[in-house]
């Protein structure tokens, strides 16, 4: 379902991803772990299409279509979702306006009917309830004044509403205490389904206790240097990255 082939990407002429290969089947959850500077966040931004990241070689296919040629909004319509490590605060844009605009843009691009205000409100309320997000949060501007936990729950809410085929979670555990982490992980787990794949990018194994991956990969120096089952994460937790990264180098 997701096929990343020989992906090379650079920022300001510095190559960060150096031939990354990754395949994720429908409904699978893969984790990418790696030390700081391995290129984890770059991978998520390259997939989502952020400015400033230049793909010099390779492809990333979602259901057989290379998404790397698309604008970020087209990728979202095609079914990609990136849960940000640092969700952006947008003063002056209300959550409800934001969700309605996003959802209808995606529905329109997918050839579905747009939702009216009432339909949206209903959907939003039911999703909020599932994720334990208060209505009051929906009256605020996007991420403004949200706690770290609220911001991450808000990412999961957006994912739940946009119903992507492929979700990338970029260091979703960063800045969360254990209770907040559980809430977010429960939200993600509730969204797991046969047709939806996940790429969980994380530095620590902790998150993977709550979001159980089918496969774990180690990213170092811009490449996947080792792949294995969920046990690989435990091994990394115990021994650190030094051995594996050292082997690769």
């Amino acid at each position: 379902m997701i096929k990343i082939k020989n992906l090379h990407a650079e920022i300001d002429g510095t190559e960060i991803l150096k031939g990354l290969d990754l395949e994720i089947g429908a409904g699978e959850v893969h984790a990418v772990m790696g030390p700081n500077g391995a290129g984890k966040s770059t991978l998520s931004y390259v997939l989502a299409g952020r400015d400033g990241y230049e793909v010099t070689e390779g492809s990333a296919e979602l259901d057989g279509v290379n998404i790397l040629d698309m604008d970020p909004d087209e990728r979202a319509a095609a079914g990609l979702f990136l849960a940000f490590q640092y969700p952006v605060e947008i003063p002056g844009v209300q959550m409800t306006t934001f969700l309605k605009t996003a959802l209808n843009a995606v529905r329109k691009a997918r050839g579905e009917d747009e939702l009216d205000a009432i339909g949206l409100l209903k959907l939003m309320k039911s999703k909020c309830k599932e994720l334990g997000i208060s209505d009051e949060m929906m009256k605020r501007a996007v991420n403004v004044g949200f706690s770290g936990g609220e911001k991450k729950r808000n990412e999961v809410l957006q994912m739940a509403m946009l119903e992507p085929k492929f979700a990338v979670l970029d260091e979703t555990d960063s800045g969360l205490d254990i209770d907040a982490l559980k809430v977010v992980a429960d939200g993600v787990n509730a969204l797991r389904s046969e047709g939806r794949s996940f790429l969980v990018i994380t530095h620590y194994q902790r998150l993977l206790d709550y979001i159980k991956p089918d496969h774990v990969h180690v990213l170092a120096k811009g490449k996947i240097v080792k792949s294995g089952s969920a046990d690989l994460a435990l091994e990394l937790e115990k021994n650190g990255y030094a051995d594996i990264v050292g082997e690769a180098a």
């Binding site: 909004d73 979702f81 990136l82 002056g92 957006q158």
Partner: protein, 422 residues
């Protein structure tokens, strides 16, 4: 405007002819006015002869070149086209109302221009005196509270130069809302002077929606005197005109007076918008807030010159001034000149100015949620403007302004839709 050659020999300032086109025939045709009005016209005329129009050599007009516009465009004098509706009970129309004006209002007019004489740049006001004929007087007695706003629509017709003088007096503890709509249809110049007097505890909401044709010129000169515990709320939306100036001078004269002088500029192409505000704190315990937000595209040029002048007597002043700007194109220019002049020692005053581009992180975030770039940009620009629009306390006007802002954003497809005049 056509050069009136027969005057040239008498002119000391070489651009006075641009301002005084057809003044002789104007003066000869509009004679049904009291002597003091004739005298005021002559005084204005003489002043303009001496000083000409303001040029960019004057500090406060550094970024505002009206003579260049008038040289380029041939304009003829025309009577102003003013339509009134809504609350019109205490409204009278000029010049008829000049015949039985109260002594107080008469002297208010005669003494003008007031307050800003020290700058030596009040030529637009003198020009308005020279053509003093059209306008409205709103004289509301004490203790009247009006729900319905007074709507004033001023239309400028093609190739004309018009002048309006409005005098607004709100009696003690009265409350009034005025909404001005400025709509011109083509190349034209509208020079407006508004004098406002607020009695004790009076409240005036004064909104101005300027959607003039993009080839026109507009100069607004507003002078406000605010009495004890009175409240003045101004909001100006500037969207039209090739060249526009919104000059406001507020005097907080009674203790506990408050003023809010806010606005937004949305301009593009080769449009130029100038906002020049002076707030004088002349009494203790007064509050003044200036809050402007500008969005500019193409080669547009905006100027914000805001000044808070706190007199020695004005202890416990709370003065605030902020100008934020979004530059949507690398060729747009913002000139900002915030000033504080403080002679009292127990005051709270602050000012700030920013100019920048759209937040790229926010734009990417919105796009990553499926919102196409143009829509995401519009959402962010609207949010930027909203922070000032939401301060409009009249709900109906706030909604109108929001609609105008949204429409402007939707129409913004490229980076250059203004024809401009240069």
């Amino acid at each position: 405007m056509s050069a009136v050659t027969k005057f040239t020999a008498r002119y000391k300032a070489d651009n006075a002819d641009l301002a005084l086109s057809e003044w002789d025939s104007f003066n000869a045709e509009h004679t049904q006015v009291p002597d003091w009005v004739s005298a005021l016209r002559k005084r204005g005329f003489d002043k303009v002869i001496q000083q000409g129009l303001p040029t960019t050599k004057l500090e406060r007009f550094k970024y505002f070149n009206l003579p260049a516009y008038l040289k380029k465009n041939e304009l003829i004098y025309a009577k102003a086209d003013i339509v009134l509706d809504g609350f019109t009970e205490y409204v009278r129309v000029l010049p008829e109302a000049l015949n039985d004006l109260s002594e107080e209002l008469k002297s208010t007019i005669i003494l003008s221009p007031v307050g800003e004489d020290k700058y030596g740049d009040m030529m637009l006001w003198d020009t308005a005196n020279a053509y003093f004929n059209d306008g409205v007087i709103l004289d509301v007695p004490a203790d009247k509270s009006v729900d319905k706003p007074l709507n004033i629509t001023i239309t400028g017709h093609g190739n004309t130069a018009t002048t309006t003088r409005n005098i607004i007096r709100i009696g003690d503890h009265s409350e009034v809302t005025i909404v001005e709509y400025h709509i011109s249809s083509n190349v034209s110049w509208h020079n407006n002077v508004t004098q406002i007097l607020l009695g004790k505890g009076a409240r005036l909401k004064h909104y101005r929606i300027q959607e003039n044709n993009k080839n026109s010129a507009y100069t607004g000169n507003t002078h406000v005197q605010i009495g004890q515990n009175a409240y003045y709320e101004a909001f100006t939306l500037t969207k039209g005109s090739a060249l526009s100036r919104n000059q406001v001078h507020v005097e907080l004269q009674g203790a506990g007076a408050e003023c809010f002088v806010n606005g937004i500029n949305m301009i593009s192409g080769k449009q130029q918008g100038d906002t020049t505000i002076t707030v004088e704190h002349q009494a203790p315990n007064c509050i003044s807030k200036q809050n402007y937000r500008s969005v500019m595209d193409g080669q547009a040029v905006c100027t914000f010159q805001g000044k808070v002048h706190v007199h020695e007597i004005a202890q416990k002043t709370d003065g605030y001034q902020l100008s934020n700007t979004l530059l949507l194109s690398p060729t747009a220019t913002m000139n900002t000149k915030p000033e504080l002049e403080i002679y009292a020692d127990d005051v709270k005053c602050s000012h700030g100015a920013t100019a920048g581009n759209l937040d790229k992180e926010a734009l990417f975030y919105l796009q990553s949620r499926g919102i196409p770039e143009a829509e995401a940009r519009a959402l962010l620009i609207k949010a930027f403007l909203e922070e000032v629009i939401e301060q409009i306390t009249d709900e109906a006007v706030r909604e109108q302004v929001e609609l105008i802002a949204e429409k402007w954003l939707i129409l913004r497809t490229g980076d250059n839709d203004g024809e401009g005049w240069l």
